[in-house]
């Protein structure tokens, strides 16, 4: 079968829209179910964003409710905590992205280099396991460690003759605890992503390198890392797009909603939840979510732009 020539811009324009359409009809129809799903569940609900600018009334519905302009957004910026919330959200997420990248890549390389084959699979499964636990479960596991009366740590401290620590009211310790649990929970998942890329690297490269007398370290630096780079960039750009969304389970469940910890655990998602759970204002909730989405969108485009500047081939779009 002779494939028709790829349709470049100029060719298409010459052929006319109808002809191109007819030529690509099977492909278009094949894409149709996915497009319909996209439209129904991604684009259609976007009209609900109007809610962010309205005072919702049930009988009037989304479109008929009264406009209130930007009033719904005020609660995000008028609080004295606005700075703390933004700082916590961005810094924690930046730290998580960085640590996740470094640790997942090192673990992926380590697993595939040192053990290869079978045992690598066993370790991989072990690292992956926490990813499937819900944060509620993890919060109780943590509580069994940190509980003042019955916690493992306080029992250990008592055993060695130290005074117990009131873990849930000492904010200083929580950046570390939160980071630990977040990484413990997610790093296995990213590791698997990188391992799958690693298995795709042709062995020829390594064989050639070994013949040339390359050390293991040189192989990693010159072959493995460059091959992993596109994956690293894609995952990081995607993560940056979600930098303004904090993991609600991590920041709400793990500290057990403890007040004294707010300065280090309050993030935009928990703030919105605590602010609106009493009043249940849908307009304000929509406003918060729109704000997060817009910031995320700007950041993804920005990050991609930066990547394209430095290395056009690795850019996402």
């Amino acid at each position: 079968m002779k494939r028709s020539a790829p349709c470049t811009d100029t060719v298409c324009r010459k052929q006319g829209f109808l002809k191109t359409f007819r030529k690509n009809l099977p492909l278009t129809i094949m894409a149709l179910p996915a497009l319909v799903v996209m439209f129904l569940f991604r684009y259609l609900p976007m009209s609900g964003l109007l809610l962010a600018f309205k005072r919702f009334s049930v009988p009037k519905g989304i479109f008929g409710s009264d406009w209130v302009a930007l009033q719904n957004f005020e609660f995000l910026f008028k609080t004295s905590d606005a700075w703390v919330i933004t700082r916590n959200t961005i810094l924690y997420n930046a730290l998580f992205i960085l640590l996740d990248l470094v640790l997942a890549v090192s673990m992926a390389i380590g697993l595939s280099e040192l053990l290869r084959k079978r045992r690598a699979k066993v370790y991989q499964t072990i690292f992956m396991a926490p990813y499937f636990l819900s944060w509620v479960v993890v919060s109780f596991m943590a509580f069994s460690l940190f509980s003042v009366d019955d916690g493992l740590f306080n029992h250990l401290l008592a055993y060695f003759g130290f005074a117990g620590v009131n873990w849930y009211s000492e904010p200083g310790k929580w950046p570390l605890i939160l980071t630990f649990f977040q990484i413990w929970k997610t790093v296995g998942y990213s590791t698997v992503m990188y391992i799958s890329t690693l298995t795709g690297i042709s062995n020829d490269y390594y064989e050639a390198a070994i013949i040339d007398g390359a050390t293991k370290w040189q192989q990693i630096r010159r072959i493995t890392l460059p091959c992993l780079k596109p994956m690293m960039i894609v995952l990081t750009i995607l993560a940056i797009g979600r930098i303004f969304y904090a993991d609600f389970g991590l920041f709400f469940q793990l500290p057990r909603n403890s007040g004294p910890l707010y300065p280090v655990t309050q993030v935009i998602d928990t703030y919105v939840y605590r602010a609106l759970k009493e009043t249940g204002n849908v307009g304000m909730a929509a406003a918060a979510s729109l704000y997060q989405s817009v910031v995320g969108f700007v950041l993804v485009v920005g990050a991609n732009l930066a990547v394209r500047r430095i290395e056009p081939d690795s850019a996402l779009f």
Binding site: I29, Q71, S80, V148, P260, L276, T279, V282
Partner: protein, 512 residues
């Protein structure tokens, strides 16, 4: 030729996929369509929240329908959910415009004021005297006034104990064994001595009994005030003269209760308890686990806890805990606007049969057969009658789970026109009456606050309060250091604007 065949095949597959997808979407009709009257029988859709959903619910509703069909030509399409589910689902159903005639609403689930503000409920002020005359006359005027929003009534309140009374339930067997005279306890300060005794005597026995829990609810009981916003946590309180407290706020109609001397005193007292070890190591987490608390209380590992009391509670707790239970009130019952919002039945603003819905609510409140049926199930199947006014859910035996029983059925309407289980004292209705007669009616009963002008501030303040209040009110932190911080944070997030707005609306309320 081969090419064409391939294209045809691809087309066919894609078309099949697309068709399958669309068929999947076309299934259920969007939204509920209104059930229409069938002959003379009207079907009412009733969304209800009750814990737990009893196994024999369908049987009971069937019996109910047989009765109501005859009596008022109504059948009920009963959609019941357990409280935690209802709290999550019902607001979404209403927001999505789902059809219903009657729904349960309150200030703790599917918020009455919030949805009234969203025009979800029907104004029944005019319809009430006509279609629910007995109920309209039977429920006291103070209750009706309390549920008014801008002068109009949007729901029928559950008429039960009027107001709330804070106090301490305690293990009376233990109190006796340790020689504690609970009748001497009149205030929080008096209780310190009791806790001291419990700690000392239990340690001597080699036990480690937690003295008291439930402190996250205790502050408004120690110094009762009127919650003008409907939320006792928000900093907008009004003094109730009968309690003669808040002397330092005397010249303000609305004040920030956290800035009062009473708050400092309360926090100092519980700080003392906390440091003396009467509260266990971590009172905030202890309070959040009520199942554990009940277990400890029943096993004698916990001496007492703070509760909002209703008549008969100590008696029914004695039955369930396996030891004597006593109650010390810290205040007289207080009836304020929010008290009437513990439970209401509202009618949808989109309901096609509001008159029939009201007639049905009227039956729930005034018909003893309907009230008893929905609370205790079918006679002979779920309970046996004892005398004229009582039922026995164990049917004279030791049956514990009979398939349908709501011990205290106030969520359905009023317990007064229902039969009581024999685990309650015979004179329970008199106890309720005495309680209601002793209730202090708050100075601004009937005032409902419209939070819309200060929604931004309320959102920020809610966060500040959940950051500071639980640890201060359980004595986990030093009040001398943290109360000033707390007040600064409140003021930085609009506490003054809130107080000013409440004051403003209160003046208008008093004027008109």
């Amino acid at each position: 030729m081969k090419n064409t065949m391939k294209r045809m095949a691809a087309l066919g597959v894609s078309a099949a996929l697309a068709a399958g997808l669309l068929a999947g979407c076309g299934g259920a009709p969007a939204g509920g369509s209104a059930p229409s009257g069938d002959g003379d029988i009207t079907t009412l859709t009733w969304y209800m929240s009750i814990n737990p959903v009893a196994a024999d619910t369908d049987k009971v509703i069937q019996a109910l329908n047989e009765y109501t069909r005859e009596k008022i030509g109504v059948e009920i399409d009963y959609k019941v959910m357990a409280n935690p589910d209802y709290k999550e689902k019902m607001p979404n159903l209403i927001n999505a415009g789902e059809y219903f005639d009657i729904c349960f609403t309150s200030n703790w689930t599917t918020d009455y004021l919030q949805f009234t503000g969203k025009d979800a409920f029907l104004d029944i002020t005019e319809l009430l005297p006509q279609y629910a005359k007995e109920t309209w006359e039977f429920i006291p005027e103070a209750e009706w006034n309390a549920v008014r929003v801008n002068g109009s009534i949007y729901g029928v309140p559950s008429y039960k104990e009027m107001g709330w009374q804070g106090g301490i339930v305690y293990n009376s067997d233990m109190a006796e064994a340790y020689g504690i005279d609970m009748s001497a306890v009149k205030s929080l300060e008096d209780y310190t001595k009791v806790l001291e005794t419990v700690a000392a005597k239990s340690k001597a026995e080699g036990k480690n009994v937690v003295g008291v829990s439930g402190l996250t609810n205790a502050w408004p009981m120690a110094a009762p005030y009127e919650s003008l916003t409907g939320n006792p946590q928000l900093p907008a309180a009004g003094a109730v003269p009968q309690f003669s407290n808040f002397a330092d706020m005397k010249d303000q109609a609305v004040f920030n209760q956290y800035a009062s001397e009473e708050y400092m005193n309360y926090c100092q007292t519980v700080r003392g308890w906390n440091q003396a070890g009467y509260l266990g190591g971590d009172p905030v987490n202890y309070d959040s686990d009520t199942a554990n608390r009940d277990n400890d209380f029943n096993n004698g590992a916990l001496f007492s806890y703070f509760i909002q009391y209703a008549p008969g509670t100590a008696e029914s707790m004695t039955a369930s805990s396996g030891h004597g239970v006593g109650f010390v009130p810290l205040m007289d019952p207080l009836f304020e606007t929010r008290s009437a919002m513990g439970g209401l039945l509202a009618i949808s603003s989109a309901s096609e049969h509001p008159e029939k819905a009201l007639e049905f609510i009227n039956l729930l409140n005034t018909d003893e057969y309907v009230g008893t049926l929905i609370r205790h199930g079918i006679e002979g199947t779920h309970h046996s009658a004892v005398g004229d006014n009582q039922v026995d859910k164990t049917m004279g035996g030791t049956l514990t789970d009979n398939g349908y029983d709501y011990t205290y059925g106030w969520q359905f309407g009023t317990p007064f026109n229902q039969k009581w289980d024999i685990s309650y004292p015979d004179n329970i209705e008199e106890l309720f009456k005495a309680y209601n007669d002793s209730a202090i009616i708050s100075p601004n009963n009937g005032f409902t606050f419209d939070a819309v002008p200060v929604e931004t501030q309320v959102a920020a303040l809610t966060n500040v309060i959940s950051e500071y209040a639980p640890s201060l009110e359980t004595g986990s932190v030093d009040p001398a250091e943290y109360i000033p911080k707390f007040l600064d944070a409140l003021n930085a997030n609009g506490a003054e604007a809130l107080v000013a707005e409440v004051n403003n609306q209160l003046t208008q309320f008093a004027a008109g």
